[in-house]
Every structure is written in C-alpha cells, then in structure tokens.
Subunit: 330 residues, 2 copies
C-alpha cells in the first residue's frame, strides 16, 4: 500500500465475463485479477457502471476492445479513486469515468484524462448513466457544428443517446426533431423538450423534414442513409454513430452535392488518449454546469445489480427502454 492508495486493494475482484463466446447471454460474475495501473492511470473502485449498445455488440462478438483495452465490458462508470498511481489525483475522490472497457467490475484502471468530477447532488448511478452519452453527443455536435437556431434530428430519441441529445440541443438553442417507435416514447421525448415528434412506424421522416435538418444524429446507418440525406438542409451534416440498420447503403452523391452536405461516421472507443482527454474536458466544461443547474436531467431507466448484467443486456436489446440502464456494484 503506497501513500497514494486509499484502502487495501485486493489482488482479485469480481467482474462480469462472457463464459461462452458463442452465447451472448452467458454473462457471469467471476473472480479475475484486479487491474494493474499503467503510467497516467488511476484505480477506481466502481459503484455503478452504465450499459451501452457497444456492450451488447461486444457480448455478441462484433465489437472487440481496441488494442490495450480491458477485455471486460463496460464503457463508463462512476466510483471512487482508490489508487492514484503516478498521477496527482487524490484517493477518495468520487469520479465519473469514460472507459475503453472494464466497467462491469469492482475495480477499473482509468487514464487520468478520462476522469470527470461528480456534479453536485448526483448519485453514482446517475453519473454512470451520463458519461458516455454526454461525451458522445458533445463530440459529435462539435464535429457537426450544431448551433443555436439549427434544427437537429435525433433518431431513437427515447434512448440513452437520444434523451441526452434532446436536452443538450435544447440547451444550445436548437430546434429538435426526434423519431421513435411508439406514442409513449414520443411523449417521453416531448417532455425532454423535443419540438417535432415522428413515429417512424407511421410517417416518413424524410418527407416531413425534407431539406430542413442542419444536423442529424443517426444510429441506423444504411437503412436511413438515403432518407437522412433527403432530410439534410443546405450545408447539413449527418453524423452516424450506430449501424442498427446495416453497414452498407447507397449514397446519392448528387443529392448530397446539391446541399453541400457531409456524412461522418464516428466512434468514441477507439480514439487515442489525447483525443479522449480533450472530449472529456470539453464535456465537463459544456455539460456539467447544465447537470448542476438542472437543465439536463439524468434519464435512468432502471438500476440492476452487476450480477444481473445478462438481464440488463436483454432489456436494452428488447428496446423497451427510455433512457439508460445502469449496473450497481456493491
């Protein structure tokens, strides 16, 4: 135990592992070695870990961790620093963490640049529900240049990303259009501030929003590509962060050119440390004041014990979720 260490750290810990690589539901708590720290990392005792679609993809074998990252799932968490390693952080400090992996565990090693403070009055589960969506939305809205007066279209407005994006864009002064698959989900979006509500089962968003969207935040990929380009306004920017509707789609370059449009596809996980540190710092600067003053509220759908990760994945996969699912770690 060094002077940087807050409490006795056990050599092993419990973490969720995929016990059968062929079975995405085989998520079980197992005893594994506690992570060792690399230069610039701190050890965090996890109190709550957010569940993201990336974790579902990883369990299904479609989203391996980037080189050097933990094999354990979990892309965000909240907890307490217990070993500051080589950094000047203080053991005992509560932190939110953006992770390349490792959150579904009792301890996780976190690069110092990926630590966020606790917004005043927020619980660990609430913090764990907001780190990944906030960093994702902030970095993509910066890329697309969303500004006051713009119209943003968010697909899947009732999900974790969507529910955050609605609130963030409204705080920026944008008009927000959303798609969702039920009247209940659309009502949830409306309560978060969404201005234009579209049930994708009943209406064609591309027709309703033709040439109107300055920015589109998309999770569908190929399935919506052509419709999204139709919905773009002049100088509009489509940012694709998920491919739930397929990987390869037809791009009408002529239509895109007539609008001077842009299509970007991004992911946070594989970014390098400097990039992530910049995004985390921007997110804390731009978003955390909005969390403290209540302009953005957490959207915590439910909290389950870490041991029930399989059930959490099933819930998220089934799609009847508004906001986020978080795993609590005893």
């Amino acid at each position: 135990m060094t002077t940087n260490t807050f409490s006795e750290i056990p050599a092993s810990m419990r973490a969720i592992r995929l016990t059968d690589p062929q079975d995405k539901t085989s998520l079980e708590l197992q005893e594994v070695p506690t992570p060792t720290l690399r230069e610039g990392e701190v050890l965090v005792r996890v109190q709550a870990a957010g569940v993201n679609r990336g974790d579902l993809l990883q369990a299904a074998g479609h989203y391996p961790p980037p080189p050097g990252a933990s094999e354990i799932m979990g892309l965000e968490c909240a907890g307490v620093i217990v070993d500051a390693g080589s950094t000047n952080q203080q053991p005992g400090t509560p932190v939110g963490c953006l992770l390349a992996g490792g959150g579904y565990a009792e301890y996780v090693a976190v690069p110092e640049g990926q630590l966020l403070s606790f917004p005043s009055g927020w619980s660990p589960a609430e913090v764990a529900s907001i780190v990944e969506v906030a960093c994702t939305v902030v970095s993509n809205m910066q890329l697309a240049g969303l500004k006051s007066g713009d119209t943003l279209l968010v697909h899947g407005g009732a999900g974790g990303i969507g529910s955050f994006a609605i609130q963030y864009a409204k705080a920026l002064g944008a008009t927000v259009a959303v798609t969702a698959g039920s009247a209940e989900k659309l009502e949830f979006c409306r309560q978060l501030g969404a201005d234009i509500l579209i049930n994708y089962r009943e209406e064609d968003f591309a027709e309703l929003l033709k040439n109107k969207c300055n920015v589109i935040l998309d999770i569908m990929g190929a399935k919506y590509l052509d419709q999204n380009v139709r919905a773009l306004a002049m100088d509009g920017h489509l940012v694709i962060i998920g491919m739930q509707g397929g990987v390869k789609g037809e791009l009408n370059i002529g239509r895109l050119l007539s609008k001077r449009g842009s299509v970007s596809a991004t992911a946070l996980r594989a970014r390098d440390l400097a990039d992530k540190a910049r995004i985390v710092a921007d997110t804390e600067r731009l978003v955390w004041p909005l969390l403290v003053d209540g302009r953005i509220k957490h959207q915590l759908h439910t909290t389950l014990p870490l041991a029930e990760a399989a059930r959490a994945h099933e819930l998220l996969a089934n799609g009847d979720v508004t906001g986020k699912i978080v795993l609590s770690v005893a």
Copy 2:
C-alpha cells in the same frame, strides 16, 4: 455615363449562347443586351474567361445556373472594371472575378465580394485560369482541414483543379498523391511537385494508399466512392467536387466508422454572396502571395478566341488537357 463609369458602355455586347438546347456544341457568338447592375455589383469588361467542366455540363443541360445568375456560361474571368455601380471600386482597375455565370461575354456583372486583385506580373489569361480552381481548392481544403504533414490524394492531378491542388498542398507542407491516366500526365504532376504518382489504368490506388490519405479531393463520385473510403486514413475526409464517375454509389458505413471518416460533397456556384465573398477573401489572402512569389504557377494549357468556345469545350471533354483552357475576349 456616370462618374463611376470608365468608358462608353454599349447597350449590347457579344456573348456565347447555346443556340440549340439539344446540341451542346451549338455555341455561337450572338448579340445580347449588356448586363445591368444590381446593388453591390460592378460591370467588368472581360479580357479572358476560364473554361470549366461546369460549363460543359451547362451546355449539355445538366447544370442550370442558380436562381438570379446569368444564363450565359463562364464561371471565372479577368478584365477591367468599367462601371463601379453603387460600390467604391475604381473604374479602370484590373480584376479577377469568380462568377455564378456570364464570363463567356464582353461584359459581365460581378458582385463586389467576388473580385480579386491582379497578382503582380500575371496576364489576364493567366488570372482567368486560376480564380475558379483556387477558390474551389482553398474552400475544400479548409473544409477538410488539410495541414502540413498530411497526405492529400488528388484525382485527375493533371487537370485544372488537380494542377492547382498539387501546388497548393505542397506549399502547405503536405505529401501529395495523384492519379492520372497516362505517363505524360503523371510526369506533368511530378513536375508540379506531386510525390506519389498512380496511373489509374494500371494500378489500384485504394490498395496502394490504403488507410493513408488524410484528405482526398475527388472528381469521380460514385465510381471511386468505395476505393476512396478504403484509402482514407483515421479521421480522414473525402471531399467530392465532381461526379464524372456517376451519382449513386455504395457507401460502406462500417469502414467509414472504423476510421471516423467524413464524406462531403460540395459546389461553389450555388453558394450565397456572403459565403463566396468569404471564400474569395480567403483565397486572395492564402493564395495570391504564392502566385506573386512563384510558388504556384499558372497552368494554362491553351488560349482560344471567345468565338471558338465550342472547340474549347471539345478539347476539355476529350481529356487531353493538362491545366486550363482560357477564352480570350478581344
């Protein structure tokens, strides 16, 4: 004749008109009314007008002028201000002009924000050869964020856009790769400074440049879309400014996402006046010093009289052109 007027301006002038809308070669000099000035425009007596692929498309019926623009072809020219209209410009001043149309004529009305000075030592034909390519390349390299140390891939390196882009990117400190269809054209590109020369008839540029290109400036559209995405580096940006290889292409969003890549498609002509004024000002600031000190040289393939516009179009369409074709106006 007002005090702002340099010389007697005739009520009519000669200009190239398409006499048969079904025949793109029916380009003839005809007598038409001299343009009248709108607020903020000056009248320029044209000395030389650049020929661009957009003019070929317009003659073929595929690229109508934007609302409010002249029906006459010609997207750039050099000449002398003969009527300053409501502006503070000085009649008698030699200028280069970025145009939404109207250059294939003895006189053209030009928004003040689209005037450029004459670089010291440059002739009207030389200036007319560089305005459109310089504004196009500068605005697209700004969009894509090309910087020193980056690798830029330019398709059609021996053409007007290509020959300028090579020199501009080298001046910025980038490594430049080009494609062209013959050893002669590639040698021309090499002499302009290109570092990597690829004959697209013999080699697969996507294989040679896989994951290496920070920026790609493309004129082929659909035909090269998939290969271009393969060639992009991490955080790379593909900018499409022409669709000589078709309008609709398959976009591999998964591959784009794995690189956090962007695809933009742009055109200069339909931009609003404020946008064009900004681009013209940036181009004069960033490029004109390089024209004066010789780091960028004009690439004037040949000059033909205005009356031979049809022949100029035929030459450009046949593809045996390195650099630009300019029409001289007596």
